[in-house]
Symmetry: C2
Subunit: 199 residues, 2 copies
């Protein structure tokens, strides 16, 4: 539809997740009208990420050095590891400021449909980290969906015999939500997990 | 939140139109996991567009040469010009295959709120094109909103005295739409513009 290079850019943008043909076109025209330096900066940021970012040798989080900032941070509690699926989950947990331990990023969740088995996740690396007995609690913070639950169950079964405290994040009603709009599974979990009010 | 360059990329992506913080994060992680060659191709497409694309010297559409493909095409009817706001509107009209004339891209619409006046649009260039009398009809295809209507009215008042046929695209119910969901302005226009059925 468009002349060569414009269509080329629209095609490339359309391959990004969550960017449909209309958005791709909108972004392409924004680029056309943007300052040359702004576009250079974006192109540079794209290349730089591929060039400089790797995955932390210990936890699998994104890192710019051999180890990520959290693994390098000596003030963090080394006795607790929070297991998550993706690096963005690390950021989500960090945002709560509730957790001061270390992380382990699996790189996904077990999903037979997508052909992801335990061997495709960083489970062996997790077991290596648990070997010396420093870690006393493992918090399983995989997603509260089918794949995340399956992964948590798989890990719990494997690790509990090692004598660690293995916990899972609570399921329940989202804070600020509306009871009547909660799906039945969430509401069921909220009942299961009900706690005594100390008043 | 993220280490240096990842956050840098998220920030850059977040400046694109329609890309919120969540989408920017999602795209950044997609980039992190994408093939190096794919990311290079995207970065190259961004730079190439800035490098190679300019605006047609005659109509203002995007072009890779002095003139755009439509202005170079000798099979197009030179007696009709369709006036649009943006290059993407050219593509929208082309898609209908209803129009075989030439275009004129204004580069926006008159909008006092956004500080866009007639002098900021390619109106002088349009008048130059009309000067030799080749063009007999001007179709005003600016957007059917406040700014587009104001621009069309402004152009019509300026150009009608030149003896040209000046037309505006019909307003009315979108084809395939539902009468009950049409807003009152559109429905009002559809009444105004009602036509005799020849049966």
């Amino acid at each position: 539809m468009y002349e060569g290079v414009v269509q080329g850019l629209i095609d490339e943008l359309g391959r990004l997740p969550g960017v449909g043909p209309k958005s791709a076109q909108r972004i392409a025209f924004h680029i056309l009208q943007a300052e040359q330096t702004d576009v250079r900066r974006l192109a540079h940021a794209l290349l730089e990420v591929k060039d400089k970012v790797r995955f932390c040798a210990v936890c699998g989080n994104v890192a710019q050095e051999e180890l990520c900032g959290i693994c390098r941070d000596v003030r963090r509690d080394v006795t607790v590891i929070c297991v998550v699926e993706e690096p963005k989950d690390v950021v989500a947990v960090e945002r709560t400021r509730e957790f001061r331990g270390k992380y382990h990023v699996l790189g996904g969740a077990i999903s037979p449909i997508e052909g992801v088995g335990p061997d495709d996740l960083r489970i062996r690396e997790l077991l290596t980290r648990l070997a010396d007995g420093t870690v006393t609690e493992l918090i399983l913070a995989t997603d509260p969906n089918l794949e995340g639950e399956a992964t948590a169950t798989y890990l719990a079964r494997m690790i509990k015999p090692m004598g660690l405290r293995v916990t899972r994040l609570a399921s329940g009603l989202p804070v600020g939500g509306d009871l009547e709009y909660a799906d039945e599974v969430t509401l069921g979990r909220a009942f299961e997990g009900r706690r005594l009010l100390d008043v």
